[in-house]
């Protein structure tokens, strides 16, 4: 309530002063234009400014302090950052995020697109198949993590079953093997997320003019080439929306790791968001957590802000 009132108040004072000097037929104060739209956008503006910008500034500010359990403005310069980048767990987290990110991005797009392309062949039972591919998206990461932890558990899951069938040397325990655990986590992530990507791609494919297909057929272009060189470039907006959804999911990955491995074995499957959470709350070292947050925000900003501005900031 508090910030809201302040914001309105400021606008109101700004409104009244210049309006007095102008006669009615003159250009009204620009703040009056679309006033309803502005009023209606107050929640958005507040969210953007108070929560996202305000929260970010606050976080960055306190990352330069040695705040422990409670935030205190006790500045220590870049100490938290030196420590952060000297911490093996942080470095592993970053590495894992990169691996996980590349896997998610590439496989979600490829699998999602391939499934969509298959479904777009005017097949029978399309609804059934689509529902099957999409249903995991309805489940939370916590649930997804639990199920896959169970399936990949060497004592109960796939490995156990295959060994029971007679292949006793079979080994498939990605969640218990430090060097491949992050791939094991990705299996669950892809299971959960590709359905949505498929839906987006399918929607995109359905938006392609039938004439394009006819033209490609008349020209004798093979189907895969039509997809690759004609259809995919035409689906640019879908790919952009998809990228936003996938990428924002990648940076935020947390629950899935917690539910499947809690970062283990050891610290082999740690991710940055978990580092932030653990250090802020578990280690009761807010400063360190904020420094890690700031690094995450920074990397997000470097990639996203220019792109978002180009994509949404300016219109034809």
């Amino acid at each position: 309530m508090f910030p809201a009132l302040r914001m309105q108040g400021r606008e109101r004072t700004a409104l009244t002063q210049p309006a007095d000097e102008m006669s009615k037929s003159e250009r009204p104060n620009p703040l009056f234009r679309n006033l309803n739209a502005k009023v209606a956008s107050i929640p958005m503006i507040l969210t953007a400014m108070v929560v996202f910008v305000g929260g970010t500034v606050w976080t960055v500010l306190y990352s330069f302090t040695n705040s422990k359990l409670l935030p205190r403005l006790n500045f220590v310069g870049l100490d938290q950052y030196y420590r952060l980048w000297a911490t093996p767990r942080w470095l592993i987290s970053i590495e894992n995020l990169l691996i996980y990110g590349v896997i998610s991005l590439v496989f979600s797009l490829v699998i999602g697109f391939l499934l969509a392309a298959l479904l777009d062949q005017k097949i029978r039972f399309e609804d059934t198949f689509r529902t099957i591919f999409l249903y995991p998206f309805a489940l939370s990461f916590i649930v997804t993590g639990l199920v896959w932890q169970w399936l990949l558990n060497p004592d109960f899951g796939i490995q156990h079953v295959v060994r029971d069938l007679g292949w006793t040397s079979f080994s498939f325990d990605p969640l218990y093997n430090s060097s491949i655990v992050i791939y094991g986590i990705s299996i669950a992530a892809l299971w959960q997320g590709t359905g949505l990507i498929m839906c987006l791609m399918l929607a995109g494919l359905r938006g392609i003019d039938e004439d394009i297909w006819k033209a490609a057929r008349v020209d004798g272009i093979p189907m895969w080439k039509t997809y690759l060189f004609i259809v995919i470039p035409m689906m640019r907006p879908v790919f952009i929306t998809t990228l936003v959804i996938i990428a924002s999911g990648i940076v935020k990955v947390y629950d899935l790791v917690v539910a499947q491995t809690s970062g283990g074995p050891g610290i082999a499957s740690e991710v940055p968001a978990k580092y932030v959470y653990d250090y802020m709350f578990f280690a009761q070292n807010l400063g360190q957590g904020f420094a890690a947050s700031t690094m995450m925000l920074l990397s997000v900003a470097i990639v996203i802000v220019p792109w978002a501005y180009l994509e949404f900031g300016r219109r034809k």
Partner: protein, 412 residues
């Protein structure tokens, strides 16, 4: 056992309904005691509190303290405090007290003569800040136990070890019999705790204090501690086939004879009890790993956030008194497997292992625990290090010790 718990809970609810709502004040108590033995112990506290005419609203948060504490702290700092909350006593709640968010219990303490009844004295010291008492210790938890499965050793055909070294020697025979020698759950605090126990047991009390109390980094890099790291190296080799996360699942491996032993605090005893196992017959406990019989005075304590509601504040006082009540202490600690914080209670019902603990306590062989010596921040870094150490054989003993020494150098 579970049925018993259920009936207890039901009884409590029924009792409340008849107690007359006017006098009853609901008090929400948050904690992270959710395993079988723990839940049974909490039920005792709730029963005792409900018997005073108030109502214990249970706010259990499953997971570990690591999951629960952030939630508790967010709620206290967010202005929606619970009536009382569990913390490990020590330094976890220090800043909350300093920020004036916690209630000063000095009056209740004076009335109940806590300074006289609570032992060892160090327990109350960790509740005291600037001469005022802010928490109620409810139990003494000691980490320094090695729990061994009699069944497993029988199966492997080796005699029950009497200390850590014999245990290590018996490991190959256990492995041969298809038994995991040492169960260490995947959660970071378990490997870290196991190392601390080794430090106190293999290294000795002085080594332990020099590292954690004096924070002597040079010493931590030296040969005394290197010995401990050697032992930790043994431990991780023995534990490499453990595929469980939670500590009680690891304990369950010992209970079922799938694992030879586990280094775990005395709360593991509650699990043996719930499973109907008898100390000495089904399982064996070695305090201080059989090498250095000490007990750390870590444990749980309840803190009481400052509340505006006067009725609730009054109920807080009642709860604080109830928690230290001799009868509650006995009932609670028997279930929990921990030691009571009062020296003046009757513990005839205690089993073998608890009696061993009580004897050590009576001898005064106590050391402070890492919760009291190190900040949460240093604890967490330590956890990260040992989680990695136990899971990653490529991390050499030397490298790990060097990182440990660096950590001690910057610890607070």
């Amino acid at each position: 056992m579970r049925y018993k718990l259920l009936t207890a809970a039901l009884a409590a609810t029924v009792a409340l309904q008849f107690a007359g709502p006017a006098a009853a004040t609901d008090l929400e108590v948050t904690h992270w005691w959710t395993s079988g033995g723990e839940a049974a112990a909490v039920a005792e506290l709730a029963k005792a509190f409900d018997a005073t005419g108030n109502h214990w609203v249970d706010g259990a948060i499953a997971g570990s303290g690591g999951t629960a504490r952030p939630i508790m702290i967010s709620r206290i700092t967010g202005g929606d405090p619970m009536g009382a909350t569990q913390f490990n006593h020590g330094r976890q709640a220090e800043e909350l007290v300093q920020a004036g968010l916690m209630r000063d219990l000095t009056d209740v303490a004076t009335k109940g003569k806590w300074t006289e009844v609570v032992r060892p004295k160090s327990l109350l010291d960790s509740c005291t800040i600037d001469g005022k008492i802010y928490c109620v210790p409810v139990n003494i938890h000691s980490w320094q136990w090695l729990w061994l499965s009699n069944e497993a050793f029988e199966k492997a055909g080796v005699p029950m070890p009497k200390d850590w070294n014999e245990f290590v020697a018996a490991a190959p025979a256990l492995e041969k019999a298809g038994i995991i020698p040492l169960a260490v759950g995947g959660q970071a605090w378990q490997s870290s705790g196991a190392f601390d126990v080794l430090l106190a047991a293999v290294g000795g009390t002085d080594t332990f204090l020099k590292v954690y109390k004096d924070k002597d980094a040079k010493f931590a890099a030296g040969p005394e501690v290197a010995k401990v790291f050697k032992a930790a190296d043994d431990a991780r080799k023995m534990a490499k086939n453990t595929n469980v996360q939670d500590w009680n699942q690891a304990t369950n491996l010992v209970i079922t004879g799938k694992a030879g032993g586990q280094i775990m605090g005395d709360w593991a005893q509650g699990e043996f009890q719930v499973a109907g196992k008898t100390a000495g017959k089904d399982y064996t406990c070695l305090p201080g790993l059989g090498l250095n019989e000490v007990i750390a005075t870590g444990g749980d304590a309840f803190y009481f956030p400052v509340l505006k509601d006067a009725d609730k504040s009054k109920a807080q006082d009642v709860l604080a008194e109830t928690l230290l009540d001799p009868k509650t202490q006995v009932a609670f600690n028997l279930k929990k497997g921990s030691l009571p914080v009062r020296g003046d209670v009757d513990l005839n019902a205690a089993n073998d292992c608890m009696k061993k603990g009580l004897a050590i306590l009576a001898k005064g062989a106590v050391i402070p625990w890492t919760d009291q010596l190190l900040s949460q921040d240093s604890q967490k870094q330590k956890e990260d290090l040992f989680a990695e150490f136990f899971a990653k054989p490529e991390l050499t003993v030397e490298e790990a010790q060097k990182r440990f020494a660096d950590l001690i150098a910057s610890a607070d």
